[in-house]
Symmetry: C2
Subunit: 334 residues, 2 copies
Amino acid sequence: MATAREVAARAGTSTAVVSYVFNDGPRNVAPETREKVLRAAAELNYHPNALARALSFGKTRSIGLIVPDIANRFFGELARALEEAAAARGNLLLIGDSGLNPEREQSHVAAFVQRRVDSVVLVSLADDPDVAPFAEAAIPVIALHPLAAREGVSTISIDYKAAAGAATRHLLDHGYRTIAMFNGPSDSAGSRQHREGFELALSEHPEVAATIYNSQISRAHSAQVALDILARPDRPRAVYCSTDEQAYGVLFACHRLGLRVPDDVAVTGFDGTEHSAYSYPPLTTIRQPIPEIAERVVHLLTGDAANLPVYETAAFDLVVRESCGQHDESPAAP
Amino acid sequence: MATAREVAARAGTSTAVVSYVFNDGPRNVAPETREKVLRAAAELNYHPNALARALSFGKTRSIGLIVPDIANRFFGELARALEEAAAARGNLLLIGDSGLNPEREQSHVAAFVQRRVDSVVLVSLADDPDVAPFAEAAIPVIALHPLAAREGVSTISIDYKAAAGAATRHLLDHGYRTIAMFNGPSDSAGSRQHREGFELALSEHPEVAATIYNSQISRAHSAQVALDILARPDRPRAVYCSTDEQAYGVLFACHRLGLRVPDDVAVTGFDGTEHSAYSYPPLTTIRQPIPEIAERVVHLLTGDAANLPVYETAAFDLVVRESCGQHDESPAAP
DNA sequence: CTGAAAGCGCTTACAG
DNA sequence: CTGAAAGCGCTTACAG
């Protein structure tokens, strides 16, 4: 690979000027000199070494993203949106996939510190992730989920409790009086907010029988749990799911058991990725504004760090489709 | 961030020794000295700067991955498997998502060259991607799809033609005599092989009426195309899809149109990600051996570059589920 | 407008 | 076993 030194030699100038040309500054370069440099660079196929540049400049122009599971559609859409927003500002997004393994997550934290990413977007597997390495390295972090302890870590997310309430209330408005909740596997801040929203909505309807179950965030496990619960004679009339993935598992179980959705069992999801419109039947769900969140996050992370930390709430939508029941003008008892 | 110099000073030794300790070589270090270094490093919270290390060492211990769309489950599972295999060898996987945008793909090529990844795993949007920048930088590339021109670029993939033939033959064995093919959008080497395998299988059955359609690799678009085709009176009895995503779109269209799968329309997919087992009905599909391919790719890429290029074929499975028809012992006409 | 030189934080022959 | 020093390929005050 050609170096700036070689380009400079061929152009009959110095490495300083090569740098000025490729960075459009910080000094001006005479038009002819610039031309000569560009020509020499093209002839030698010069690609500035980003490592050396970063080492010298002190910034890598890269943002690290840590997600629990990149194969999960929600995180895939998130990564795509962040990548786009980052690229628009000349930044590279480095994706670290934890693969649902907390140790892997920690190793990504270490890797990102060592690679000196400028900032980090974190969706942790842990309720209270250890972000000390980032703090010590003065690397700003924005978490996209509720954190147990907010010690200086920025947070941008929807109001899970309010969203959970909205979905639950929609089920209640349909007239369903036995409702199961499929919540996430652990007692995390996130699942706690789901539960609080769910229970708050139900508290207005003391006659409603509700049960809370936990399942992993995967179709496979959710299906397994649902297969058991929905086969019982006292199966719930409606199921609130804390993720679309879990909802797909419940839909699968319904089909397996010959139960019709929404006629026998109503289902709502949560996250609202594009695929939720293509399930059978299409899924009623809470849509998270992924592009807006991504744009906002990258804006903050590439801007003045003095504006951080930040604790922001993004707006969500309840997207009503067919999995929860008829869309009557009057959403009364079916 | 503490530097090796500061650690050395605190430990009363030199940066060379700090390096020897953190790299376990290339020179030995006396046990007490090592202890002192480790203690000083811990006290100062030292994290070696990977950029400086890479600049000096000449290797970044990172592998670049370029995929067409990270939100597509197939590429998500691929990224997850590659990440795992890379991590097992102390390498970081950098994921570049092209977001179905060829320009973005090219910018990832440039970014990876500038960041001096040690090697690249490529799934291109183009039939004949421009990998010259990698060649010039002496960065080995393994493509995971058939390439139009094999000019020195390694390739590891299943035999698409044989797999397409297997799926098509399965449909024929069920007795279906009008079969539509949903192929990818472009005239790429990949879609050509799908078509060849499809047509070769059909050539043994001149009585079969087959039509080939093209759709993008997305549920949304495939559903749209299928909604049109399957609403016609002369709709096909079976649909061969060149990806699971397209198959999900076809399933959606069937449900929308009130057609039963497989009783009215049989469907097969291609790729065989985990989700194919949870569709309604579960999808008959060709399963690609993602973990094996990932393992093999990373093994080759982190090994001796003299072994490259390589042109390998991985084994596939035909996974028979319910979307194609009854699983009788005797797969005859239904 | 341009160049010589120091410095970013490591690694590694080379001496000792 | 250990250290002084050169070098990886850039950027950027500092002079001119």
